[in-house]
Amino acid sequence: MTRARYLGWLVMATVTLALVCGVAVTIGPAAVSLAQVAGSIGGHLGIPTDAPVSLLVDSIVWQLRLPRVLTAALVGAGLALSGAVMQSVTRNPLADPYLLGLSSGASVGAVCVVILGIGFALPVAAFLGALLALVATLSIARVGGTITPVRAVLAGLAIAQLAGALTSFIIFWAAKGDSYREILNWLLGSVAGATWQSVAIAASGVAVVGTGILLSATRLDAFAFGDTSAASLGINVNRTRWALLGAVALLTGAMVAVSGSIGFVGLILPHLVRGISGPGHRRLLPLVSVCGALFLVIADTLARTVFDPRELPVGIITAFIGVPVFILLIKRKKSHLWA
């Protein structure tokens, strides 16, 4: 694809994302128009608008829906980026923060802070949980110096189960009030409780780590033919791999801290977007973040409207969409990847 066509895709996806975010804010129990959304946002940013917005509408838009939609967008972008990086540096088409247990590990860290009140900053605790889970998964999967995709997924499954049990255990143990809902929100992932603080955490994660990852696009390309080939292309393989996996743990930690462990975004988005952008990371990474954001905003809007007035954790929607794609990947990929 030519550069112009790629940029066309990127611009189109970004404009669509902005529109979908705007529309998503209008959707909900109380009817809000796009003009009111614009008026409320304009008012808070100090941009004068001709349509004054009532206090009630303003608080629905600015306090409830906008933080939630923005958090969903940022988490979607972060998870999709994480998946793309993990698939490259582990050469595993099934790698994703959810399947390899990072998200569940991060949940344990986050729950420790939120429920037990252990004195860590929430994203730091989630990062440590994700890092620990990552190291555990890769050490279990490593046999004779190599990690096959299937072993990595199996090890990730074990770690995710353990971390999920730990999360549930901690919430039950500290039980007060509605612990079942709380457990489901962490295990399945939800942005229902998003605040401007969530937006800030997710945005700094995506901005800081995302920039670092974007600047590493060339190095991610170099892993296409494996470690020896990457080394012969001038990459410091071990240092690069661990730096990038550490960055993914940090990003996943920030995402999970605000939304619990949402599955399948990191797995399926890179595969879908590669079909448009090609495998080169310079093109894949920007487009996959925008598409990940778009995907999760739509999924979360479905999660809170389809069974209105009941609300689903968004992770249920991403699983309904993600699992069929996961099955297609299992069926499609060439046998040498599964050895």
Partner: protein
Amino acid sequence: MGVDLDGLSFAIDGTLIVRDFSASLPTGSVTGLLGPNGAGKSTLLRLVAGIDRADAGTVTLDGVSIGSLTRQEAARRIALLEQNAAPSVELTVLDVVLLGRIPHRTRLMGSFGGDDDRVVAIDALQAVGAAELADRCWQTLSGGQQQRVQIARAMAQQPKLLLLDEPTNHLDVSAQLALLGQVRALGVTAIMALHDLNLAAAYCDQILLLDGGRLVAAGTPDEVLTPEIIGAVYGVDCFILQHPRGGHPVIVYSSATSKGAS
């Protein structure tokens, strides 16, 4: 100048894989690295490429010690073709060749720009006669085409030294001859690990014969490929003929049964 290997030794878990290996390769020469399975050919290539650091000894390329270079600086000088490499994602041929440009990009902002890279990559594909494959998906190529594209990738790296690990593996006869002819035509200093002694005799200026990590013979194909040396290293009987056209040695093996019959 060329390449100088001086006293290279390398051990894995206390086992010496390469022992006190020294050799000198003139600029532009094609060197065949021969030896039985497990002789240390692949390891030696990794040492020369600077991917593994030798426990002792130095590799010098045009007077510069590889050990003193960063990985990226080494990659701008030396390209390595691995055995049986396969990508984990679907790549087009041009994507594969463009990988060769990675060492030439700057560290921080190297992820952007790169119009020259395309020109160099397409030139490299043309040089190996594979320009028409540029948009094909790598996975759909034949083994011979894949190896040709890998050579184009290595050439896009613009190396001073080209290392090839069993480049003719799994190729049919015509693809083998075409590939080695291509390597010669590039005019780059090259070292290739080979199993086929006859291919080495036909396409290499000099032969380095390894056994158990040690250099047991070095010289022109005529000097190294003798019944005595081949018998001692590979444990087989053979005759040496002269190629009717090239004049280089042709090795004809006699199997255990035919030996008994003669």
